[in-house]
């Protein structure tokens, strides 16, 4: 993307607390790249659906995949979708009840998914997915067979109609509430990687990329 800043449109202009809005590519990519999954909203004759699914980014597209038989993947070829990623970073404790808030990073992407139908591009996308899940993993696993790839649909959505919203930092109480005798600050939340749990039938020593999963 040559222009690092998106111009917000009707669907992406943030109205509520617009000072938290971000339309730059770096923020968008960082939020996507920190996520293992997204929520995809789409409509059909039964109404609107919101389905969580694994996602990854390559260049200026967000990718998802699934079985060829997936209702969602079929519907996404017929109408626009909204993809949302949200990271919750903490609860914001203010002196007044109504000034409480949450710290978060969220991204919304609008548009039409397209199927990655070229076989080489599909394979590349799935290998990028594995690289996102765990760098180094692809070289160790039994690669996908022709049959497995043929049964799988990979789809992507361009990142050019997108908006991010980020809140960070402490509480913002009104001036007249600052003397209220309540503790004020942030209660942080973070996603943590715990120690790998080997399959009971696994006799293979954990390689560095597995052993290094757990955070200090």
């Amino acid at each position: 993307m040559n222009d690092p800043t998106h111009v917000p449109g009707d669907r992406t202009r943030v109205r509520r607390v617009a000072t938290n809005a971000h339309y730059d590519t770096a923020t968008l990519h960082a939020i996507i790249d920190a996520a293992y999954l997204c929520h995809v909203a789409f409509g059909d004759s039964l109404g609107v659906h919101c389905i969580p699914t694994a996602c990854w980014r390559a260049g200026d597209h967000l990718y998802i995949h699934g079985s060829n038989g997936s209702r969602m993947l079929r519907r996404l070829q017929e109408s626009d979708a909204c993809v949302t990623i949200t990271h919750l970073d903490g609860l914001v404790m203010a002196r007044s009840a109504f000034s409480h808030s949450m710290n978060y990073r969220s991204a919304m992407i609008y548009g039409r998914f397209e199927v990655v139908s070229d076989a080489a591009a599909q394979r590349q996308a799935m290998e990028q997915f594995m690289g996102r899940l765990l760098p180094g993993r692809q070289a160790e696993v039994r690669p996908g067979s022709y049959k497995e790839y043929a049964a799988t649909t990979v789809m992507r959505i361009a990142l050019d109609e997108a908006a991010c919203k980020v809140r960070s930092g402490g509480p913002k109480d009104d001036e007249e509430d600052l003397s209220w005798p309540a503790w004020a600050g942030v209660l942080p939340l973070v996603q943590t990687r715990l120690a790998p749990v080997a399959d009971p039938a696994c006799t293979v020593h954990a390689p560095a990329h597995i052993a290094g999963w757990q955070q200090a």
Copy 2:
């Protein structure tokens, strides 16, 4: 709810990996009660939207709130929505690329939101929200004023059209892949509570419910 098990309907019957589906109230409540936020999908003339927002449960309803001016809260009064909550519990590393998976707990709720218009019920719901965020907090903060409550819309959706999907445990490789020499198991992810960060202007000693936030 007298019947602890929901009978799945057209919108809630899980098709993909249906063995992971759960329709019982205990599973649904546990997934909601572990969440601080949900994703709400709804449609309007611009298309379908998927917006993250704080949520909490009281009895057999899921609640959300926002400013009276919120587009989402106005639209939710006009058509059905889908509310989804997802907890990611880990990455599942299998011997073959296409047997990789994720461990998760997710809930989807369909229906029409209704405004909690009774003033006493609105106040009770907001106090239940604070109790969910942090037990003990409500008694310490400056309570909401008449004006603050009047500017806020609380909405709720019944939990009677809902489905959960849960995956846990290790990889499920095909028999012929079990001898492939790749480490297999689960890389766990968990949401962790870190040490409270006091507002620089805060002179109040942290009470037990704040000091106890951090996990051991």
